[in-house]
């Protein structure tokens, strides 16, 4: 499948390195040369990107493009095994490229330190044989899909949530695309992210390895790929299921009457106003209070109620003595609270408590403030003994 010219031969070092491939009839010298001449683009070097990048490097993919603009932090290390403790603070691109070079110095790594966007996606993706989607948000997933369909590049898809994962292969010549499976994204806020919902660290390993396997099969032209099939994996019950996936006749980008002919504004499509680095809900900006000021109120024995809207298992990790009412229970428990009283709400980073403040105000509570930055900011600004998670 790769359009690139097949290189003449492997070096003696490569013959030895790939010997377990070379003696497999399904790979052999021809297959290994196909892998060496292949160009694969990995979008993201996080949970899914880590095993994808590492296994593709080990397998001998000749050119691996990496797209990421993030920095390695400690919370990544529970699952992003391409990065190590020594890499904290480093660019993920540099850290990933170093790991790949260590695994297989024969790989040519091309780094793209950008957020993939409608403006740059076509330029970056053009010329690659396969694209692997290891992103973590709906706008980028639709963007990757659409660019793959428009460029005619297979899109090896994987996504994860808590203990569950999905994988498939989209945008092949006759196969369905991501929009055939899901024509529209969920409204923002309905599906929590990994940062909010948590994720089993091993889960992206499992799904990422499935994606890497599909990449290799697509390049070799061997086996039965996930084109037209959606694999669902449930780690908690260790169960795999498979759903049939069809090319939708109504698909707006790969159907016969397609209405999308070029990349669109994916943030708008996903209902997300484009305000990068503005994480707080609009309403939260009114009625915010700094953690230090909350501390002063507590120290002064001021008469107010401090409410933590995180989950009980988060409260166990750390708490600052607030009354615990998880956001999901708040609507049913408002009757426990006096609408005349003064409240400060907090959560981990200020998002959920912002929603809690909105909810309370809608229900007649007039004196409600949101602790800015949540317990993470409390740990930074008030009490460093409180662990951050």
């Amino acid at each position: 499948m790769p359009a690139t010219a097949v290189p003449v031969a492997l070096s003696n070092e490569e013959v030895l390195r790939y010997s377990r491939h070379l003696i497999l009839p399904e790979v052999g010298m021809d297959g290994q040369l196909k892998l060496k001449s292949a160009k694969v683009l990995c979008i993201g070097t996080g949970g899914l990107g880590a095993p994808i990048g590492m296994y593709l490097a080990a397998a001998g993919i000749g050119t691996i493009g990496l797209v990421d603009f993030d920095i390695v932090d400690r919370t990544n290390l529970q699952r992003q095994i391409i990065h190590g403790t020594k890499d904290i603070g480093k660019k993920k691109l540099d850290s990933a490229a170093e790991t790949i070079a260590d695994i297989n110095p024969n790989v040519n790594v091309v780094k793209y330190e950008v957020a993939l966007s409608s403006e740059n996606a076509m330029q970056i993706m053009k010329g690659y044989d396969v694209v692997v989607d290891g992103t973590d948000n709906f706008p980028t997933r639709y963007l990757v899909n659409d660019a793959c369909v428009l460029l005619g590049i297979p899109n090896v898809y994987g996504s994860i949530f808590r203990f569950e994962g999905q994988s498939s292969v989209f945008a092949t010549t006759d196969g369905p695309c991501y929009r055939c499976l899901y024509p529209e994204p969920p409204p923002p806020g309905l599906v929590p992210s990994c940062a909010e919902g948590g994720v089993l660290g091993i889960l992206p390993g499992m799904i990422g390895v499935m994606q890497a396997t599909e990449v290799v099969k697509l390049i070799l032209g061997k086996g039965d790929t996930l084109v037209g099939r959606l694999v669902l994996y449930d780690a908690l019950n260790m169960r795999f299921r498979e759903m049939r996936l069809r090319k939708s006749p109504d698909c707006p980008i790969c159907g016969p009457d397609r209405s999308i002919h070029q990349l669109i504004d994916y943030h708008q499509f996903c209902g997300i106003p484009q305000q990068p680095a503005q994480a707080e809900p609009a309403a939260a900006k009114n009625g915010e209070i700094e953690p230090a000021d909350v501390k002063s109120l507590l120290d002064a024995m001021h008469n107010f109620i401090l409410i933590d809207v995180r989950e009980p298992h988060e409260y166990q990790i750390c708490n600052i003595g607030a009354k615990l009412i998880p956001l999901g229970e708040l609507p049913k428990r408002l009757n426990e609270l006096d609408p005349q009283a003064e409240y400060v709400m907090h959560c981990k980073s200020g998002m959920r408590s912002g929603k809690a403040c909105d909810l309370m105000r809608q229900n007649g509570f007039t004196n409600v403030r949101n602790m800015k930055g949540g317990i993470l900011a409390w740990a930074d600004k008030v009490d460093p003994r409180v662990p951050k998670y």
């Binding site: 993201g44 996080g46 949970g47 899914l48 990107g49 993030d70 990544n76 992003q80 989607d133 290891g134 992103t135 973590d136 948000n137 709906f138 997933r141 994987g158 996504s159 994860i160 949530f161 808590r162 203990f163 569950e164 999905q166 499976l181 899901y182 024509p183 529209e184 994204p185 969920p186 309905l190 599906v191 929590p192 992210s193 990994c194 919902g197 994720v199 992206p204 959606l230 669902l232 019950n237 299921r241 498979e242 759903m243 049939r244 996936l245 069809r246 939708s248 999901g328």
Partner: protein, 91 residues
Amino acid sequence: MPKILIPTPLRQFAGGNDAVEAAGSTVGECLEALTTQYPDLRKNLYNDEGKLRSFVNIYLNDEDIRYLSKTGTAAKDSDTISIVPSIAGGR
């Protein structure tokens, strides 16, 4: 009764269950029984016009009901109905 498998993101709206048996002779009736038992699920499965949301796919065994008879698809006691919402995590 047909069994409905509840995906992780929606379990919080279904009493924490990963599977619920729901009476009905069609997929639509089974989903109706499910959302009657767990009303919080309703807004996650249906839009304001009462139609299934387009980021939630419903499968009867391994087939998407969009390619069968949609919610009118007949369901037997031995059938499994899967709710498969779109998820985006990857980092």
